[in-house]
C-alpha cells in the first residue's frame, strides 16, 4: 500500500471526525453535558492527534493536543464547560479543518491562526487551573493577544498635570503604544479591543464628552498578532469589567479569516482527488436537459402521428414507439435527477449560524428543520441560500426575544426557529417560522409614513405586514451588525422573484412570524392535466387537482358580490370560470355541459370550470420570463406535442384574479340582474 493512500485515509477520517465533533459540540447540553458525548468529542480529538503524530503533521498535532487536554478534563468533570468555552472549541475545530485541508494540499497551515488558537486554548487551561484569578481576567486578555486595533484618543482642554493620570487610566484598557502631550492636549495611541463607547463612558468621569475623540487608526492584522502578549491578569482584572460580548466578535472573525483561504484550497483538492464523482459545469447539464426536453417533445409528436396509422400495419412501429417513450422518459428522469439536491444541503448550514448568532445576541434559540430530504434543483438551492440566511438572521435578531422578555410574556425561555421545506404541487414551499414577538403594526405604519409610503390605519394586518418588503424598510429600533439596516426584506423579495417565486409573511403579534417562500420548479418536468377552454388549451399542475366532476345546476348558488359557489358534499367552493378570467371566446358557459375541477394550491380549495379535460401528461416547464414577462394567472408555459405553446396555470393566482375581475365587473353592471341571468343560463 502506498503511503499516500494512508495519508488519504487519514484525511478522510479526520474530516469525518471533525464534522462529528462540530455536530456534537453544537448539540452539547452545556448545563448537563452527556458523558457519552464528551467522550466522543474527546475520542475524535485524540484520534486526530494520534494520526497527526504518526504522519508528522506538527501543527495539527499541537493544536489537537491542547484541545484534547481540555476535553479530557471536561470529561472527567474537572473543567466546567460554559458557552464561551464551547465557542472556542468550535473555533478550534474550524482551524483543525483548515489545517487538515492544508496538509491534504501539501501546504503549510496558517501559522498566525494556529498561534492564536493555541494561545486561546492555553489561556483556557490556565484560567481553569488557577481559579483564584478573577474569572473575567483571562477572557479579555485573550483577545488582546490577538489582532487588536489601535485607537487614537485625543483629549483637549485638559491641564498638563492631569495627563499622567489619564494615561494611567487609559492603560487599564490595553497597551499604550504612543503618547503625545502638549499644553492643553493629550494624544494617546492605545492598543485595545475595548469598544470606543466603553472607554468613553469611563473617561466621562474625568472629562466631558466633547473634549474627547476616539478614532481607530489601524486595524492591526495578523502581523502584530503573531506574538502573544498576554496582559498581566491583575491589570486586566482591575479594568472596568469588560464585557465578553465585545470581545467575542473579534475572535470569531479571526478564526473565520484564517479559514477562508483554506476552504478555497480544499475545493481545489476535491476536484483533484475525487475519482468516483465527476464535476461537470451546470451549463453542460442544462444543455443536456434542454435537449432531452426537445427529444421528449419530438417523441410525443411522433406518437401522435403514429396513433393515426392502421394499427395492424404499423404494429411494429407502435411497439418501437412505446419503447421509445419509455426510454425517453427514463432518460429525462435520469437527467433531471442530476440537478436535484436535497434541501439538507442548505439546512445543514444553519445550526452553526443559529448557535453563533444567538449567543452573540444573548438569546436562546432552538433550531428545528423539517423536510430536509426535499429535493430541489441545484440552481435554486444555490440561489435560495442568501435569502434564507437573511431571513434566519432576521428571525433571530428581531423575531425571537431575549430569554427575559420571553419569560415575561409567559413563553418558554428558549425560542424555536423552524425551517421547513416541502413540495406542494409544482412548487416548493420553504417556511421560516419563529415563535417570537411578531411584527409591530403601529411601528410598521409609523415607519411607512416616515418613508412616505401610502398607508392608512384602515389597512388590514396582512397588508401592513407586507410593508416590510418595501425598499429601505427596517423597523429594528437599533441597527445591529446582524440586521436592521433596512436593506433587507426588499432584497429577499427581489431575489425570490427573480427565481420566479414569491414570498409572503404571516404574523401573529406575540406568537411569532412565518415567512413562506414559494418557488416554482423553473427547471422541471411537471405532471399535468391539459384542459380545453374554447379553442385554447391550458395546462393544470396535476398536484393541484383534487377531483373533477360534472355539476348539476342545483349545486350552484349565487353569493353577494357577483360570485357563485358550488355545493360539493357539504362544502361550498368558490367558482372560478377560466373562460371569464382569460376572456376566452366561444367557450362553454353552461356549467352542466363543461367540467368542474376542484383545485387547491395554497389556502382554500376552489372550483375551476373548464370545457373539457384533454389528458394527463408530463410537460417541460418553460419560463415565460426569459423572453417575455410574468403573466397574471400563468406560472410558466410549455410546448405541446404539436409544437404549439400552452400556458401553465398558476392556481393560486387564478382565484385571486377571478375575485378581482368579479369586483370590476360588478361595478360596471347591475349585479343582481347579471346574477339572475347567469343562473338561468
Amino acid at each position: 500500500m502506498d503511503i499516500s493512500d494512508l495519508y488519504q485515509t487519514f484525511f478522510d477520517e479526520a474530516d469525518e471526525l471533525l464534522d462529528d465533533m462540530e455536530r456534537l459540540l453544537i448539540n452539547l447540553d452545556i448545563a448537563a453535558p452527556d458523558d457519552e458525548d464528551l467522550n466522543a468529542i474527546f475520542r475524535a480529538a485524540h484520534s486526530i492527534k494520534g494520526g497527526a503524530g504518526t504522519f508528522g503533521f506538527a501543527y495539527l498535532q499541537d493544536t489537537t493536543h491542547l484541545l484534547e487536554n481540555l476535553l479530557d478534563r471536561a470529561r472527567h468533570h474537572e473543567l466546567t464547560l460554559d458557552r464561551d468555552m464551547v465557542d472556542v472549541f468550535l473555533q478550534t475545530r474550524d482551524l483543525l479543518k483548515a489545517q487538515v485541508a492544508c496538509y491534504r494540499e501539501q501546504d503549510t497551515p496558517d501559522e498566525a491562526a494556529y498561534e492564536r488558537i493555541c494561545a486561546t486554548l492555553r489561556q483556557l487551561a490556565a484560567q481553569d487551573a488557577a481559579p483564584q484569578v478573577q474569572g473575567s481576567a483571562a477572557e479579555p486578555a485573550q483577545p488582546l493577544a490577538e489582532g487588536t486595533r489601535v485607537l487614537e484618543i485625543t483629549i483637549c482642554s485638559v491641564a498638563a498635570g492631569e495627563h499622567d493620570v489619564l494615561v494611567e487610566e487609559l492603560g487599564l484598557f490595553g497597551d499604550i503604544v504612543a503618547r503625545e502631550s502638549s499644553a492643553d492636549r493629550l494624544t494617546v495611541h492605545l492598543r485595545s479591543d475595548e469598544s470606543e463607547a466603553n472607554i468613553e463612558s469611563v473617561l466621562c468621569f474625568v472629562v466631558d464628552a466633547d473634549q474627547l475623540s476616539i478614532v481607530a487608526v489601524t486595524d492591526q492584522g495578523a502581523g502584530t498578532a503573531l506574538e502573544p502578549t498576554p496582559v498581566p491578569a491583575g491589570e486586566a482584572a482591575s479594568a472596568s469589567a469588560p464585557e465578553p460580548a465585545a470581545t467575542r466578535p473579534a475572535s470569531a472573525g479571526d478564526a473565520a479569516s484564517g479559514n477562508e483561504p483554506a476552504a478555497a484550497r480544499s475545493d481545489k483538492r476535491t476536484a483533484a482527488t475525487e475519482t468516483s464523482s465527476l464535476r461537470v459545469s451546470t451549463e453542460k447539464v442544462d444543455r443536456i436537459i434542454n435537449l432531452v426536453g426537445e427529444l421528449v417533445i419530438t417523441q410525443s409528436m411522433l406518437e401522435q402521428t403514429t396513433a393515426g396509422l392502421d394499427p395492424e400495419l404499423a404494429a411494429r412501429l407502435a411497439e418501437g414507439m412505446s419503447q421509445l417513450q419509455r426510454n425517453a422518459r427514463d432518460l429525462q428522469e435520469a437527467v433531471m435527477s442530476v440537478r436535484m439536491t436535497p434541501m439538507d444541503y442548505v439546512f445543514s448550514r444553519f445550526p452553526r449560524l443559529v448557535r453563533d448568532l444567538s449567543s452573540k445576541l444573548g438569546k436562546q434559540v432552538e433550531l428545528e428543520t423539517l423536510g430536509a430530504s426535499t429535493e430541489l434543483d441545484k440552481g435554486l438551492i444555490e440561489r435560495i441560500m442568501d435569502p434564507l440566511t437573511h431571513l434566519v438572521r432576521n428571525s433571530l435578531d428581531h423575531g425571537i426575544e431575549t430569554p427575559e422578555a420571553r419569560e415575561a410574556a409567559g413563553k418558554p425561555r428558549t425560542g424555536t426557529l423552524t425551517l421547513a421545506a416541502r413540495h406542494q404541487g409544482g412548487n416548493i414551499l420553504i417556511e421560516i417560522r419563529d415563535d417570537g414577538a411578531g411584527l409591530n403594526r403601529e411601528r410598521l405604519l409609523a415607519k411607512a409614513r416616515q418613508n412616505g409610503l401610502p398607508v392608512s390605519d384602515a389597512m388590514s394586518d396582512d397588508e401592513v405586514w407586507q410593508l416590510i418588503f418595501a425598499p429601505g424598510f427596517s423597523t429594528a429600533a437599533a441597527v445591529t451588525d446582524v440586521s436592521g439596516r433596512g436593506v433587507g426584506m426588499d432584497v429577499v423579495k427581489r431575489n425570490i422573484q427573480q427565481l420566479g417565486g414569491h414570498v409572503d409573511l404571516a404574523c401573529e403579534p406575540g406568537a411569532g412570524t412565518t415567512v413562506r417562500i414559494v418557488l416554482p420548479l423553473t427547471l422541471a418536468i411537471m405532471d399535468s392535466m391539459s384542459v380545453r377552454v374554447g379553442a385554447e388549451v391550458f395546462i393544470m399542475p396535476l398536484g393541484a387537482i383534487m377531483e373533477s366532476m360534472q355539476v348539476k345546476s342545483e349545486q350552484v348558488k349565487p353569493v353577494a358580490g357577483g360570485g357563485r359557489v358550488i355545493h360539493v358534499r357539504g362544502e361550498y367552493l368558490a367558482l372560478v370560470e377560466l373562460h371569464r378570467v382569460f376572456d376566452v371566446p366561444n367557450a362553454e358557459t353552461d356549467l352542466a355541459r363543461g367540467i368542474v375541477m376542484v383545485v387547491q394550491s395554497e389556502g382554500r380549495p376552489f372550483a375551476l370550470f373548464v370545457d373539457e379535460l384533454i389528458g394527463q401528461h408530463q410537460v417541460v416547464v418553460k419560463n415565460l420570463e426569459t423572453h417575455y414577462r410574468k403573466v397574471p394567472g400563468v406560472s410558466a408555459a410549455t410546448i405541446l406535442g404539436d409544437g404549439s405553446v400552452a400556458l401553465i396555470l398558476d392556481v393560486l393566482a387564478l382565484s385571486r384574479l377571478s375575485r378581482q375581475r368579479q369586483k370590476t365587473e360588478t361595478r360596471v353592471d347591475t349585479p343582481s340582474v347579471n346574477l339572475e341571468q347567469e343562473i338561468v343560463s
Binding site: F582, D583, V584, L624, Y628, R629, V645, L647
Partner: protein
C-alpha cells in the same frame, strides 16, 4: 417558411445596415444587427389580459417568444393573418421577440448623412423611439430604435423593475 436574412458586406463601417419593412404605406427600418430571422406567422398562443398588440407567445425552437403586432401598436394597415404575414424575429439583449409587419422589402445601407433628425409626429410613434429618418433617393425610411421601443414601459414586454 423562414428564411435567413442575407447579410450584405459593406466596405464602410460607419454605414448603418437596416432591414426595411412596411406598415401600411410607410416604410420603416431597424438595425439589422438586432434582427435574428424572418419567419411566417403561425402557432401563436393568445395571452389574456394584455394589450391587444401583444398577440401572444410562440415556440421558436424550444424558446417561448412573445409576438407583437406593430400594425396594431401603430394603428396602421390591416391586421390580418395569413400565410403571407411576416414576423421579424428580433434579438434584443438576451431576449428574443417577434414583431408582425405588413412586409419586409429590403436590406439597405445608410450613410450617416442619409440619416436626418426626426420631427415630432405628435401621434402613434413617439420620437423617443426614433433614431431618425433615412432618406434614399425619393424614399423616406422611419428608423426605429427597436431596442428602446421593445423594452419600453408602454410595450410592457419586459418586466419593469418595480420598486
Amino acid at each position: 417558411m423562414s428564411q435567413a436574412v442575407a447579410y450584405k458586406t459593406e466596405d464602410d463601417s460607419t454605414n448603418m445596415e437596416v432591414l426595411v419593412f412596411t406598415l401600411a404605406t410607410e416604410e420603416y427600418a431597424v438595425d439589422i444587427l438586432k434582427v435574428q430571422e424572418i419567419r411566417g406567422y403561425s402557432g401563436v398562443t393568445r395571452i389574456a389580459n394584455v394589450p391587444d398588440f401583444v398577440k401572444g407567445v410562440t415556440n421558436l425552437r424550444g424558446e417561448i417568444v412573445p409576438i407583437v403586432d406593430l400594425r396594431l401598436k401603430f394603428d396602421l394597415g390591416n391586421a390580418t393573418y395569413d400565410e403571407h404575414t411576416v414576423v421579424i424575429v428580433l434579438n434584443i439583449g438576451e431576449r428574443i421577440m417577434g414583431v408582425v409587419v405588413d412586409g419586409v422589402s429590403d436590406v439597405l445601407s445608410l450613410t450617416p448623412d442619409q440619416i436626418k433628425a426626426a420631427p415630432d409626429f405628435g401621434s402613434g410613434l413617439s420620437t423617443e423611439y426614433l433614431q431618425g429618418l433615412g432618406s434614399i433617393d425619393e424614399r423616406m425610411l422611419i428608423l426605429v430604435d427597436i431596442e428602446k421601443m421593445m423594452t419600453s414601459r408602454e410595450m410592457a414586454l419586459v418586466e419593469q423593475a418595480t420598486a
